[in-house]
Amino acid sequence: MRVGLKLLVPQLLQFLLLLLVCGMIVFNLYTEYETLSRSHGRMETRVELAERLKSMRADNVLRVLAYANRRDPAQLHGFARYEEEVSVILTEYAALTTENEERLLLDTVADAQQRITESRTALINAIDSGNAMQQDAAFQRWEIHRRLLDASLNDLAGYALNRLRAAVNRVDAQRAYALTIAAYGALAFVLLIMLGTHFVRRYVSLPLERLTTAIDGIARGDLSLNMQPELAGRRDEFGNIARAFTNMTVRLKDIHSTLEDRVQKRTLQLDASVKELEAFAYSVSHDLRVPLRAIDGFSHMLEQRYREQLDDEARRLIGVVRDNSQKMGRLIDDILAFSRMGRQEITWNTVDMNALAQAAAEELAPHDKGRRFELQIGTLPSAQGNNAMLRQVWINLISNAIKFSSPKAHPKIEIGACRDDQEQVYYVKDNGVGFDMQYASKLFGVFQRLHGVDEFEGTGIGLAIVKRIVSRHGGRVWAEAQLNEGATLYFALPLAGTQGAETPDQYYLKENA
């Protein structure tokens, strides 16, 4: 998990906490809203009950007046029913409120109801008695109580209505408050996310990216990257790291600079030594040729002039001397050629590898005295390189194939090419004696032989020269073989041409590292 992501986790937890708190606030508000709504329902019921009492009271007044006018005894039942219903409603109402003030109003109504019941009874009695003075007094009393009941009922209904309106307002206010809280909560949430992201980006992610860039640069060897002043000026852990890296870079620059100087000096010394050694070897080889020619020449003269005086054994010994001196001469020639291939500057041209291989095969044809060989040359793409050097490569590889396949009854040599994305591969394949692949790494070494000199003559330098030439061209060599089944020797040249090619100095440095 990346550091930025790790830092984001606690931040997200904080945001979740904020979300939780906002959620709880909204939940509480919602709960309160629900409570208010239930309270609102009870208030509506109270208003309805108060209005019902008012309506019933109006009916009862008409009932009293009807009795006073007509003395209708049927009305008496209505009084009892009315008073019973009022009592039930008042009880129901009282159960719906816990407010002191409303209970006082309810008491006032109950009190007024009690009074008007009494005064109504007295009025009925006075009416029944026929006493006009009693009727007047009772009527006045009933009228006063009627007004009192009217007033108390109006007050109760008014109070209930006021409470209902207030409750509605509170519900509206609560809803608006909840919306406000939710809106501010959402705003705060978004702002916190933005701020958090900004802070993490500014103080953690960006410094980390800069540090990573700087460290990558150092890893690539670019010591010029400087983290100051953006990071090194900071007073936090990133500042400490940046300063430490800056110090490290400065020290690395010093060390690098010292190392380069030392390497350059050593390289010059090594170059000089290698050249001296090459020159020495060349000189020695060159100088050895003169006495060798003298030995061969004088041995030949001795053989020619004193043939008749020499017995067979003497002639055989002279032949041995001449044979070995000639071998030594070839060896010296090969060593000189090998040395030359390392020292020679490459003149680059487009080389027709088909023509080159064909010419090399024809040049080597005399070695196939019985014309036994079956030679196949496929299409060989051109290459960038030195014509003479690559010609030597073909000659050495084809002669190598002829040599090691000659014991076969039907020797066969196949020359071909293939390519991949980066290099052009050429090969020479034979069905000769092959070799054990465990010795493949020695095949291209100087003086390395996988077969005895009695079996196959040679100096053991030919494939080393091939490897040197191909390496000078930036390519590579390798072989695949199976004992007694034949071998395939490959060399590959880079498609990019001169890219990867080595100067003699580079070659020597690599070879002698």
């Binding site: 006082l104 009494e118 009192l148 007033a151 007050d155 008014g158 006021n162 406000t180």
Partner: protein, 331 residues
């Protein structure tokens, strides 16, 4: 600047949280004329509990024996507001005095009572015919007596009424200068203690006494802040009385020490309903009383606009539900 912008967003949210009841601004003076009876308990509790001072008011009380005199004090410009029973308010409104009614602060059906001397042959209400009855004229007692007589079937011409001030209640009754007397509840217990079995008691369930907080309308409208603070303090006093009966009685007893015994206050306390209201009972009472004055020939003008006298906004601001009368919104 970003932080300032954020603060500007958050500040309204923070300021919307919580409230503050503490009065702001300078302290305001207010003079209230009152009648020094337990019926004015809301004022005394508000004073004693510090609600008046806490609301930023410096209240001066001007005490009187009866509400009629307290209201006169206010009309004379010596006080800003008065508390009085409803009768002086009705009479002044009939006279065209531009009163503003802020609230009723107490309602009782037993504040007035009629006592008769047994020795004058008074045993039941009908025995009052032909008797001399003392009453404090121009007060609610006079209206009480008229209601009592009417509901008992006694015509006004069947009795003789004489004016007796509250301070002379006991002396007048003891001397037998009247056969019966209408007196306030707070005096009733004390007279009963001194005159014992000589008295027979009558009450009327057809009558309600209401104590009103009132003043000249213009004065009320000119002092909106002081009035608002006063209503806030009285509202708190109402809550306190509802929940602290004994403490409230003790407060009133201390306030009226020397004039009323605590035991007397306690005895009558439950007949009082201390509540700030502008309701139909108040309007109905005033109209009934006004009608009675008109029927009695004591008033010949048009019935005053009692509803128009109500100044409802101050009460609505503290106890909206207690304004059960529909009144036009006032500035």
């Amino acid at each position: 600047m970003k932080w300032l912008y954020l603060l500007s967003l958050i500040t309204p949210l923070l300021s919307s949280c919580g409230g503050n009841d503490t009065a702001t601004g300078p302290r305001l003076p207010l003079t209230i004329a009152e009648f020094s009876q337990p019926a004015a308990a809301l004022l005394y509790v508000a004073e004693a509990r510090g609600y008046l001072s806490g609301a930023g008011l410096d209240v001066t009380f001007r005490p009187f024996n009866v509400g009629k005199d307290a209201l006169k004090d206010t009309l004379d410009g010596k006080s800003d507001l008065a508390i009085t029973f409803q009768t002086p308010v009705v009479r002044n409104l009939q006279e065209g005095i531009p009163l503003g009614i802020l609230a009723s602060i107490m309602t009782s059906s037993r504040n007035n009572a009629l006592v008769g001397l047994r020795e004058r042959g008074i045993a039941k209400a009908g025995d009052l015919r032909g008797k001399k009855i003392g009453v404090t004229k121009g007060t609610s007692s006079e209206f009480f007596l008229s209601v009592f007589l009417a509901t008992e079937g006694i015509l006004p011409k069947d009795v003789t009424t004489v004016h007796v001030t509250p301070g002379d209640f006991e002396k007048t009754l003891a001397a037998g200068d009247v056969d019966a007397l209408v007196l306030f509840a707070s005096y009733r217990t004390r007279i009963r203690n001194t005159m014992g079995e000589r008295l027979v008691y009558f009450s009327s369930d057809a009558y309600n006494d209401i104590v009103i907080l009132t003043g000249l309308r213009q004065i009320i409208l000119n002092k909106p802040d002081a009035i608002r603070r006063l209503m806030t303090a009285l509202s708190k006093a109402q809550d306190y009385i509802e929940n602290n009966r004994d403490d409230s009685i003790a407060i009133v007893a201390r306030r009226l020490a020397g004039k009323f015994e605590k035991a007397n206050i306690d005895e009558d306390w439950d007949s009082y309903r201390f509540a700030l209201r502008l309701d139909h009972i108040l309007l109905g009472n005033m109209r009934s009383e006004s009608d009675w004055y008109a029927a009695s020939g004591l008033f010949r003008g048009a019935t005053p606009d009692f509803k128009g006298a109500l100044v409802s906004e101050p009460l609505r601001a503290v106890r909206a539900a207690s304004v059960t009368v529909q009144t036009p919104r006032q500035p």
